[in-house]
Symmetry: C2
């Protein structure tokens, strides 16, 4: 690769996160980000389609992991079992780095443009899961409904997980140590609970 100071992409991502936190999203110009990363604004746009995208760099990795998890589910598993497997994978991946997730989500929630971008990423993820379900032979509209249901659970559980921890939880309130592991099972468990609860709510007549 070129012998330019390496990992311009990573430096841009880091610079963007820092600046979005320091001054907020719309008080940060692309030129600012590029300057902090030691490159030109034009170079920023060669790495990221726009000012928002820099915050969603890892989202395609997440999507691939979820699709892979769904595809690894036994062919005779029910659709929701397969979706649950994907959700477990999501809990595994997202469950690490709770503080990072919290900070990132705070930025996103504070600006409509970023929220829009996040929503379309999740919509694409739902599409990908629906595709995978169809590949297993599930037909419409069930494939879409199952995939979308999975994403509802992901969003709702994740939202509470990164939200204010007014948890009257049995756990200690220590800020970080050991928190990672606890938070991990917690997110995964929250998704499992919410998945079951979604089933109850939608069928209770």
């Amino acid at each position: 690769m070129g012998r330019w100071a390496d990992d311009a992409n990573g430096r841009l991502r880091a610079a963007a996160m820092q600046l979005y936190v320091e001054r907020g999203f719309d008080n940060t110009t692309v030129a600012d980000i590029a300057a902090r990363a030691g490159v030109t604004a034009r170079t920023f746009f060669r790495h990221f389609a726009d000012k928002r995208e820099v915050l969603f760099a890892g989202s395609s990795d997440l999507q691939e992991a979820l699709v892979a998890a769904l595809e690894k589910a036994p062919p005779d598993a029910t659709p929701m079992r397969a979706v649950a497997a994907a959700l477990d994978a999501a809990g595994e991946i997202l469950g690490r780095h709770r503080e990072h997730a919290r900070q990132r989500q705070a930025i996103i929630n504070s600006h409509a443009d970023l929220l829009e971008r996040e929503l379309i990423k999740l919509a694409r993820l739902a599409d990908a899961l629906a595709d995978a379900l169809r590949r297993r032979g599930l037909e419409e509209p069930d494939a879409s409904l199952a995939a979308e249901a999975g994403l509802v659970v992901l969003r709702v559980a994740f939202g509470r997980w990164v939200g204010p921890d007014d948890e009257s939880d049995a756990g200690q309130a220590r800020p970080d140590h050991g928190g990672a592991a606890r938070a991990d099972v917690s997110l995964k468990q929250m998704m499992r609970d919410d998945l079951a609860r979604l089933g109850e709510v939608t069928t209770e007549r």
Copy 2:
């Protein structure tokens, strides 16, 4: 009100729709729209926050109608019954003007920026429904889950309803006459079917 040629807002909406259809969203500048509506670009931005918003003018009306329908549901109805009432209202409103909906959706689906805007509108709608459910005494996460489930059904059913009509349906293929009424019950019925199906899919283990 001012004695400027009236209904600049409506003229801008109409001009935007026309131009987005004629040349596509990104081959249309705000100046173009304003010119066709007989005003200045600056005026466009006094009526609509941005170039996308002009396509979503009626969405707050829709939201209010759905919330009202949900609130009109008997207090002892189950959450999903209340949500179903809101969906019926949605079917009532969206079910008219199928061709308009189809054209509008074609524009939206063809451009990521518009899709993002649509998604956030629907997300806000889900938030509003969840609020209404909480006002009835339903607690989290059930309120969010029920509201989101309702929107899943709305999106999936609506998507098929405006999609390609490769319907091997019993109905005649005449383009519009009588089509409105049939399309109406069709959308509402599709949502009811999908709602039931969502319940089945999520509980089938």
